[in-house]
């Protein structure tokens, strides 16, 4: 029987036609519900809960995350004390100039074999890898990256991201009725803060914060753009190196995950254009 006959049979048989309407109606409603939940309801609920949670929870989760990273992945920084103090001093000045609570943010330096990275933790800690400091030799460029991380902290991105994932799994387990998903969630929750990949929306929001703060402090957001370009060049160089390392001549080598900071973010071109747009908007005001 051809498809045409199947469709005709489906339409002319009242019983089958009813089920066709049921199927199409369910599909439509489900698509809209999933879309609204993803774009509106879950983010709104996560934002509300994140705001209501006591500071102690942020502190405790952030502390334990840093502790576990120190145990499993990080090594002590190889940067000289002078260099670390110099960057800390500039960071402190920047925080004060932005009228932020200086007790909330702490800067940590670590050596990480995974390469260039900087990330914020829930307790206000910002971890910068040695490779990042070495790649961004210009201090304002490093400040731009640090401001991006402050943007994540100020906007509660880490907690909101964790809550979004949790709400999604709990809702899914309620719909499918599989309680084991909730158990898995508890395991996942223990890794809170270890998930560095934010949504595109969060990254662009943190970029916007960094760009506006750069404009406020230094009257220019160029260092942020230069930082992205420098990281992109480093990323491409690494990609080239990886290609050579994983060539048939070196079959045992696997691609490393160097330059994480870029790989977990939106495309560099898009981010630069976004910053340029913010600069233009601020100049037109």
């Amino acid at each position: 029987m051809s498809i045409k006959h199947h469709v005709a049979d489906l339409w002319h048989n009242p019983h089958k036609r009813n089920w066709l309407f049921i199927g199409l109606g369910a599909l439509l409603v489900m698509l809209v519900v999933v879309y609204k939940a993803h774009t509106r309801w879950i983010p709104d609920i996560a934002e509300y809960i994140a705001q209501e949670l006591p500071r102690e929870i942020y502190q405790s989760v952030g502390d334990s995350t840093l502790e576990s990273l120190d145990d499993e992945q990080f090594k002590p920084s190889t940067l000289s004390e002078n260099k670390q103090n110099e960057i800390r001093e500039k960071f402190g000045t920047m925080v004060v100039d932005l009228a932020l609570d200086s007790t909330r943010y702490q800067l940590h330096f670590r050596d990480w074999e995974e390469g260039i990275n900087a990330f914020a933790l829930m307790n206000g800690a910002i971890v910068v890898t040695d490779a990042l400091v070495q790649t961004l030799d210009e201090s304002l460029q490093l400040n731009a990256v640090l401001l991006h991380e402050i943007g994540h902290i100020n906007n509660n991105h880490l907690m909101e991201n964790t809550l979004r994932v949790s709400i999604f799994y709990v809702t899914l387990s309620m719909i499918v009725g599989d309680i084991s998903v909730v158990a898995d969630l508890l395991v996942e929750a223990s890794a809170m803060g270890l998930n560095f990949s934010f949504s595109r929306e969060f990254e662009l929001e943190a970029d916007a914060y960094a760009a506006k703060s750069m404009l406020q402090l230094y009257n220019t957001a160029d260092p942020a753009i230069k930082a992205f370009e420098a990281l992109e060049i480093a990323h491409q160089a690494d990609a080239q190196k990886q290609a050579e390392d994983t060539s048939p001549a070196n079959p045992d080598k696997t691609p490393s995950e160097v330059y994480q900071w870029l790989s977990s973010h939106p495309p560099t071109r898009e981010r630069i254009e976004h910053i340029q747009q913010i600069v233009e908007e601020s100049q037109s005001k």
Binding site: N18, F21, A26, V29, K36
Partner: protein, 123 residues
Amino acid sequence: MSLEDLTREEEALRDEIGDLPPNKRKRYYQLEKEAIRDPDTYAVLNYFFVCGLHHFYLGKTRYGLLNVFVMLVGLVFWEFYGFILVILVFAVELPQLFRSQKIVQQYNLNVMRETLEEVRGEH
């Protein structure tokens, strides 16, 4: 009409069906099997998003389409007071979930009556 009344009416109809000649009774059961509806399926369809899918199951296509349309408009415009439409649909449809047994039994009785008439009219 209460559930007891409906059950009594069904029993009376079953008696009438039992009085049919064997060939007509066979024909009746063939037709009834296709047209009769299951209260549990109706309840599950009602429970699923409470958006009116259960109306399609009973062949009320227009009512079902209206319900799904209102629900979709409510969901799409949720942040512009669309949620009021969703609450409205819930308020109208949810009580039917608790009356699903009765609603489907009433529907099935009508089907039985019509089928009986149809079979009696056949030569």
